[in-house]
């Protein structure tokens, strides 16, 4: 690598490092607005024109908060946890190809790279949970680790199918492979749904936010953080959601391919619906219990994603012929699994109601 190339790459990485917080600010604003719209109220309105400066005001306020360390906390774990959680998000942004030329580094193993790094941020959450010394943080941290680790498996399997189809592990090749033929989201509908669900559970978003739900564990591992460190946890969460949405478009919806508009416009047109879907879920779905969460992953998502890999393999080898019945079979299997395994409602024997004698008019004095 000659000197100017190194400088250019460093410049590009700097742009990404600065863009991540701004991106998160925009997403926080969009989420509060959509939540407001769902609940028939206005989101942030008074700060700046139409409330646009609201998240900027939040960020500056968080920057100037007092920096405190709880006395029961282990200082090292408490201090380093936000960094370990936030940084992998930026590393992954470096590799995502928004358009063929708008990408920082053309890594040929980028699919593997993209799914390896979020596992590091799980360690950060353990450090936060254990380091801040409060019982709720510990409980939230352990729940989050169990959830993130177990949902990593269906996430990877769902993407494995696409890797087989595209025949390569580089995101750019996957998008190019989708250029002329049909999008992988159509060939692998179940894989796309599993990818989104596992992605949500990976970053503990509703309806899988057992670990950070505020009605039981009051914010989970981030309970003892204040000011800029808590802001880093929030930014990491929103950067991860953006990564989930952009990976969804790249892998399943054929990144920048589209008839007439330029590449990056198509990219945005496909990412925003997924983002709005994630925010829409936050306003309409309650939270799962921990054991239902785990049962859903191990008993429903993993078998389905394995089935999906088989479908991808048959499409690769035999083309469209036998794949159509396979896709239909996988959809039926998904529905059957969904009905039988996932929604095991505890059947309690119903009893007939106990009639209470309506007192005769004479008795009602």
């Amino acid at each position: 690598m000659s000197l100017p190339d190194v400088l250019i790459t460093i410049l590009k990485v700097l742009v990404i490092v600065l863009a991540a917080p701004l991106l998160a600010l925009v997403l926080v604003y969009v989420e509060r607005k959509t939540l407001g719209r769902i609940q028939r109220r206005m989101g942030p309105w008074h700060v700046g024109p139409m409330g646009l400066l609201q998240t900027l005001a939040d960020a500056v306020k968080l920057l100037t908060k007092e920096v405190l360390t709880p006395e029961r906390a282990e200082p090292w774990a408490y201090w380093i946890a936000p960094i370990v959680v936030f940084v992998p998000g930026i590393f992954v942004l470096v590799v995502i190809p928004f358009t063929p030329e708008l990408v920082v580094s053309r890594l040929d193993l980028s699919l593997l790279y993209v799914f390896a790094l979020p596992a590091v941020s799980v360690v950060g959450f353990i450090m936060a949970g254990w380091g801040s010394g409060s019982k709720y943080a510990l409980l939230g941290g352990i729940r989050l680790v169990a959830q993130a680790v177990s949902y990593e498996i269906p996430l990877l399997f769902s993407v494995l199918g696409v890797a087989i189809l595209a025949g390569s592990l580089s995101l750019i090749d996957i998008v190019n492979a989708q250029g002329d033929t049909v999008w992988y989201g159509v060939v692998q509908p179940v894989a796309f749904v599993i990818f989104i669900m596992a992605g949500l559970a990976e970053h503990s978003r509703t309806p899988f936010d057992m670990a950070v739900g505020e009605s039981e564990v009051m914010g989970g591992p981030t309970i003892e953080y204040s000011g800029i460190r808590w802001a880093m946890f929030m930014l990491a969460e929103y950067v991860n959601i953006f990564i989930l949405a952009s990976l969804g478009t790249i892998i399943f919806l054929g990144g920048w391919h589209g008839p007439v508009l330029p590449g990056w416009v198509w990219y945005l047109l496909k990412t925003t619906p997924i983002l709005l879907f994630v925010f829409w879920l936050r306003g309409t779905l309650p939270r799962l219990r921990v054991d239902q969460l785990m049962g859903f992953c191990w008993k429903v998502l993993i078998p389905l994603s394995l089935l999906n890999v088989v479908v991808a393999a048959t499409f690769k080898v035999y083309g469209w012929g036998p794949t159509v019945p396979m896709v239909i079979a996988s959809l039926l299997a998904a529905y059957w699994f969904y009905r039988r395994e996932w929604l095991r409602v505890v059947a309690v024997p119903a009893r007939d109601p106990v009639p209470v004698p309506v007192p005769a008019p004479a008795a009602a004095e």
């Binding site: 009893r351 106990v354 009639p355 209470v356 004698p357 007192p359 008795a363």
Partner: protein, 189 residues
């Protein structure tokens, strides 16, 4: 127990409960009074546990709800009175037990074996009326701390209305300039 009873038998009336009370509670030394709103039985403290057991065990006028234990303080004749209201689960009739105890030795046996809800009612009566329920499984204070108990007794001190003039003097001459600094901010928005 309440299930098969409800459908078949008519609801007990006040007279049937009074007869039942005379039959079972009179031998325990209780005097039954009927002209009140509910049938009332005055008892001595020693017989209370047996009477409560009778009421919880009885099946014909079925009683399964202990509504509350209300304490009363009669300072002039120096007595504390505990009023127990029992009511039926599937019918509307009820029975009341009254126990009077001298207020310097307010000893009443607990009835929390037969009536689990009595556990907290007795703890509350302990807090507010300084009753002593011997045999209570967990006699810790419920509402008030140890040094503040006996709140509903008549001679419990109360805070008089504040003398506002003296309170402003007590606050001293607090500079109000800070607040003036806020005033223009609000006036011109």
């Amino acid at each position: 127990m309440a299930q098969e009873v409800a459908g078949s038998r008519p609801a007990p009336t006040k007279e049937s409960i009074a007869n039942w009370a005379r039959a079972t509670l009179e031998p325990l030394g209780g005097t039954v009074v009927v002209d009140r709103q509910f049938v009332e039985v005055e008892l001595t403290a020693e017989k209370l546990r047996a009477a409560a057991h009778e009421i919880s065990k009885s099946d014909d006028p079925e009683f399964s709800l202990l509504y509350d234990i209300s304490g009363l303080h009669w300072p002039d004749d120096g007595e504390l009175e505990a009023v127990y209201h029992f009511f039926g689960g599937w019918h509307a009739e009820g029975i009341t037990l009254r126990v009077r105890v001298p207020d310097d030795r307010p000893l009443i046996p607990t009835i929390s074996e037969d009536w689990p809800t009595a556990n907290w009612h007795e703890r509350e009566a302990m807090d507010l009326f300084l009753f002593e329920f011997e045999g209570h499984p967990y006699p810790e204070p419920l509402l008030l701390e140890k040094d503040m108990q006996g709140a509903l007794l008549k001679h419990y001190p109360q805070r008089e209305a504040p003398d506002m003039v003296e309170r402003f003097k007590q606050r001293g001459d607090v500079p109000f300039e800070i607040w003036k600094a806020v005033r223009p901010e609000i006036e011109n928005g």
